[in-house]
């Protein structure tokens, strides 16, 4: 039976979080809301404060100022967070002399639950490590370690899972495994917070995103909202008649032709690069169809999230 207060309870509620290391301000007035059942991405350039933020959520450190509630419990000192939080920052903590199964079994014994121990095989299967369950972790690849780290985090059946670069080093199959696992966890009502440098992963996985730059939040909200707010972005346009398409693009309001060199290795004589907001782009497609030009390909040169990320975190010229 649910407590009435649980209805409005966020998995993470941070307000005005500030954290400094000596003279370095890692986080400066950060707000963050993560609802249960959502996968929330934290992105930002190197040194933006992502790992510090994730460390605070895991309870590894405490904020200098501001308030932080994890699973409805105010956190005022390090390692004092509530039960139900798991994850890793700076890579999973694994013991190379133990097998994958022993790593999980030792962790289950540490948590003192028979239920955890009973679910080891199931979790290993979930992350695709059944075949190497009895191999020592010493011989594991980076991707296998990442998956085992995820398995270790899942073992405790967390309600808030915090993962730093969880798909780092994973091959496409491994990445799919992880995406499926995280998706299922969110469907079951757990909140997931991940950081990643891979915008495509964040876009594919996350319903919400927080962009952090130099310790401050540049954007926080649904990924769709970011797309609509991102303004003009560059698209690669391939049609049956490039010269006609060029003429249509020039005459369509809100659409600008851009330098094809921005496509890099994907540049070709058939491809145009246009910059437009979503509404103008829709109009361009309509005009192309009216002009009898078939559209073979229309895709962002870079993802909207990446474009927004670059725009929001770009340093002013005089700061560089």
């Amino acid at each position: 039976m649910q407590d009435a207060t649980d209805i409005t309870r966020l998995a993470v509620r941070a307000r005005g979080i500030t954290k400094s290391f000596g003279e370095v301000i890692a986080l400066d007035g950060v707000d963050l809301d993560v609802a249960p059942g959502r996968i929330h991405g934290v992105v930002g350039p190197n040194g933006a404060g992502k790992t510090t933020l994730l460390g605070l959520l895991l309870g590894l450190a405490v904020a200098d100022s501001g308030s932080l509630e994890i699973l409805g419990v105010p956190v005022r000192r390090a390692l004092a967070g509530p039960d139900g939080v798991a994850g890793f920052v700076d890579g999973p903590g694994l013991y190379p002399a133990l097998t994958a199964r022993r790593n999980l079994a030792a962790l289950a014994a540490l948590r003192g639950s028979d239920a955890y121990a009973a679910s080891i095989d199931e979790i290993l299967s979930e992350v695709g490590l059944t075949d190497v369950a009895d191999d020592r972790v010493r011989g594991f690849s980076l991707g296998m370690r990442q998956r085992l780290g995820l398995a270790a985090a899942l073992l405790t059946k967390p309600r808030l899972l915090v993962l730093d670069e969880p798909v780092n080093g994973l091959d496409p199959a491994g990445k799919n495994h992880v995406h499926r696992v995280l998706g299922r966890l969110a469907e079951d009502g757990s909140a997931v917070v991940i950081s990643s440098h891979r915008m495509d992963d964040v876009e594919a996985l996350c319903s919400e995103v927080t962009i952090v730059g130099r310790g401050r939040v540049a954007f926080s909200g649904p990924v769709d909202k970011l797309r609509t707010e991102s303004g003009e972005i560059a698209y690669r346009l391939v049609t049956t008649d490039p010269s006609a398409a060029r003429e249509v693009a020039v005459t369509t309001p809100g659409v600008h032709l851009a330098d094809g060199a921005s496509l890099g290795p994907r540049a070709s004589s058939d491809a145009l690069v246009v910059r437009a907001a979503v509404a103008a782009l829709d109009e361009l497609v309509v005009q192309l169809v009216h002009a009898g030009v078939a559209v073979r390909e229309l895709a962002p040169v870079i993802s909207p999230l990446e474009a927004a990320f670059l725009a929001l975190t770009e340093q002013p010229e005089d700061d560089r």
């Binding site: 309870r9 039960d83 999973p92 903590g93 014994a109």
Partner: protein, 450 residues
């Protein structure tokens, strides 16, 4: 942005120390090097003692080494002497010196903190787990070296005053001696914990107990004042010898154990204090050397100075070498008398007792040209005794003594040949050297007089 959270209970639940302890023991025992060490500790000493005992030459320069043919209990004490100098500092290095720094190398601190949620409990679990493995290693050395008794023989052991210790008495004293060696080992283990916490992934943390042990052991063979030597935990690795004298030299042994335990507590306390103040969100090693010196080395140096000062003030005898003419004369007299009785038995001469001999000894150093005190090989002692059954007949035997700074000496018979020269005597266990030819002894460095 809101949604219901499943009604699973929220609690601030920390992992009990007992579970953390099991976790740490599992991790330690998963390491091949520790498994090999444990197997070696439980197997090698027995093999070594049996092999040496069956060999033609014995380690006569090692305490009790000359009796390894005679009784298995001597072998265990030879192993104990070796362990105190080399094995135990090395073993504590590999266990306690690595128990914290291993997490730094593997990058697992954050994982551990998230799992256990209490640095205090992590420290307690790690300290207890490393203590467990160290005790397991010492137990192995003890059991293995004493198990050799089954092969070599459960026979009486000659004490350091020549007194004969019955097998049961020898067994009790040998086990007690190993138990006493636990105290200085704990001190080294605590230094290992401190090094491991302070120096992180640096290999110096791993080497610290071994280096500290060797340095302190080196101090025991230097001609330093007794107060300095006794203020070091390594004195505990030699103080157990007092169990094998008659009477037992209990004072130095108790002081050595107390000093070792104080070092263990202080070093563990410093390690604990440092560990709780560690910032696990930073992997910076800035200021490591300064921190090591100020928090690690200086407090232990202060403890050493304080202990030495207290000893010097409370026991004036400790200001010097602790070795003087009267102590040596008393010790040599006692040793000679007991061994004379033994020799009479072995040669099937009429039974005699120690009091009947009315033995006495006169020692000088350097032919009387230097002060009769301190260690050195220039000691010469003349033993005089009353020959039993012959009125007013007095015998004399001369010994050259090599006295080491830790109070141990080897008395080498210098005639007459038929008394303390080299010849073989037939014993129940086979031919053996004349017991009065060469014998070991030790003087009580803390005693005010012999």
């Amino acid at each position: 942005m809101t949604a219901a959270i499943a009604g699973r209970a929220t609690s601030d639940r920390r992992v009990p120390v007992s579970r953390g302890y099991r976790f740490e023991v599992v991790k330690l025992l998963s390491l091949w090097r520790l498994r090999l060490l444990i197997i070696a500790a439980w197997v090698v000493p027995a093999g070594l003692v049996i092999e040496v005992s069956r060999g033609s030459s014995l380690p006569a320069d090692t305490l009790f080494g000359r009796w390894m043919h005679t009784t298995g209990w001597a072998g265990s004490l030879v192993v104990l002497g070796f362990a105190g100098t080399y094995a135990l500092p090395l073993l504590t290095s590999l266990v306690a010196g690595d128990v914290f720094s291993a997490e730094d190398r593997l990058g697992t601190w954050r994982h551990l903190l998230v799992a256990i949620r209490s640095p205090r409990r992590i420290f307690a679990a790690k300290a207890l787990a490393s203590l467990t493995v160290i005790v397991l290693l010492i137990a192995g050395l003890t059991c293995s070296s004493t198990a050799a008794v089954l092969s070599v023989g459960n026979r009486p052991l000659l004490g350091l005053n020549g007194q004969v210790l019955a097998p049961s008495d020898a067994a009790a004293k040998v086990l007690l001696a190993w138990l006493c060696a636990l105290a200085p080992t704990l001190a080294l283990a605590a230094i290992g914990l401190l090094g491991s916490v302070t120096l992180g992934r640096s290999s110096m943390g791993l080497l610290l107990p071994a280096l500290a042990g060797l340095a302190m052991d080196g101090a025991q063979i230097l001609p330093l004042p007794v107060a300095v030597r006794v203020a070091l935990p390594s004195y505990g690795f030699v103080a157990w010898r007092g169990l094998f004298t008659s009477p037992v030299q209990l004072g130095p042994l108790l002081v050595a154990i107390a000093v070792s335990l104080v070092w263990a507590v202080v070093a563990t306390g410093l390690a604990y204090w440092l560990f709780l103040r560690r910032d696990f969100t930073s992997i910076s090693t800035d200021g490591l050397v300064r921190k090591t010196l100020t928090v690690g080395v200086l407090p232990l140096a202060a403890l050493f100075a304080l202990t030495a000062g207290v000893l010097a003030v409370s026991a004036p005898a400790t200001k010097g070498s602790g070795i003087d003419q009267s102590k040596l004369q008393h010790s040599v007299t006692t040793g000679f008398a007991y061994l004379y009785v033994l020799q009479a038995q072995q040669l099937h001469r009429p039974s005699i007792t120690v009091p009947q001999l009315r033995a006495s000894t006169s020692c000088d150093k350097g032919g009387g040209l230097v002060a009769a005190s301190g260690p050195g090989n220039g000691w010469r002692c003349t033993v005089t005794w009353h020959i039993p059954g012959v009125s007013n007949a007095v015998g004399q035997a001369i010994y050259q003594l090599d006295v080491t700074p830790d109070g141990r000496y080897i008395a080498d018979g210098d005639g007459p040949v038929q008394v303390n020269g080299y010849f073989l005597v037939r014993t129940p266990t086979g031919d053996a050297a004349n017991p009065l030819w060469q014998f070991d002894g030790t003087v009580d460095l803390l005693a005010t007089k012999g």
